[in-house]
Symmetry: C2
Subunit: 181 residues, 2 copies
């Protein structure tokens, strides 16, 4: 029962394509990165990419989930800032925010991308905070929108992300979640 019949998939292709996607989108942006380019960079035919992912958005989301990592689980009392700060810091990473801003752009036009983004990016973050704090999911959603939205918009208008802005936005979101509204 090792394999289904037929030629097995090359085992290293998924990782190579994801890595090429992250690298290229980080330096050339979402729109500036074509699928031909990704495939060539990963040493794979474009048709192979489309056998494994449904669309460019699907691939980029997969690459983003990979490079984003998992949010830390706040353990004690004052650790809320740890989780929120982690999110803000991750978005400061050019790879993360370039991948994300491209996906958000697609989400505006495509409800499927919207749902996938909620489920694979926002949900895990929300789960941690709700589990550790019993906070309302709506409040966490709002805090997430404030952190991610503010930083992405800042990056869009400024071209890069200022560290001071990351800190201030973190502070704002922590206050919001602490129930000081």
């Amino acid at each position: 029962m090792e394999h289904r019949p037929g030629r097995p998939r090359r085992p290293d292709v998924d990782a190579a394509v994801r890595a090429a996607t992250v690298r290229l989108v980080a330096q050339r942006g979402y729109d500036g990165t074509t699928l031909d380019h990704i495939a060539r960079e990963a040493g794979v035919a474009k048709t192979t990419v489309y056998r494994r992912w449904d669309s460019k958005a699907d691939l980029v989301l997969d690459a983003l989930v990979d490079v984003l990592g998992e949010p830390p689980l706040p353990t004690g009392g004052g650790e809320l800032r740890e989780t929120v700060g982690w999110l803000a810091a991750r978005i400061g990473d050019p790879a993360v925010h370039q991948l994300l801003v491209g996906l958000v752009g697609e989400a505006v036009a495509d409800p499927a991308v919207r749902a996938a983004l909620r489920q694979r990016i926002r949900q895990p973050f929300e789960d941690r905070l709700v589990a550790a704090w019993g906070a309302g999911a709506a409040d966490v959603d709002l805090a997430f929108d404030v952190v991610v939205g503010s930083l992405l918009h800042h990056a869009a208008l400024a071209g890069s992300i200022d560290t001071r802005v990351v800190d201030t936005v973190t502070e704002v979101a922590v206050r919001l979640l602490s129930g000081e509204a």
Copy 2:
């Protein structure tokens, strides 16, 4: 000295094209609206549109400036919320946020759009607040990014904008500008 030599421009074309742009982008989104469609809807040839605007982004920005309107000038003491709330409410308008989210998407890839967006959208807002409050421009920029970014991101993930979110975000930005950080 009435006119330069040559056939004068049809005087109502600018307004008609802007109106068609607002209408179509509001209901079909930025990517879902083609220039052929805009031209047809405005009763004008596509080449005429390109004689008057340099690009789709240029046209959409022009239409956005038009439909956004001018921020109110806060007059007295507690009127900061008036100006910030105006901005948040304007973004709640589907026409405004659809136009804006498309432009922000272009701004990520195109520094020229980035600069134009700063100058024609954020600048007037900033001018009012700095003139009336002597607040630092950097603080106003941040507040702008928080209001606009949070609401656009919320819209991107939810598909529409919740009124409660508009209010909360306004509150957050007002606090930020009041120097309670």
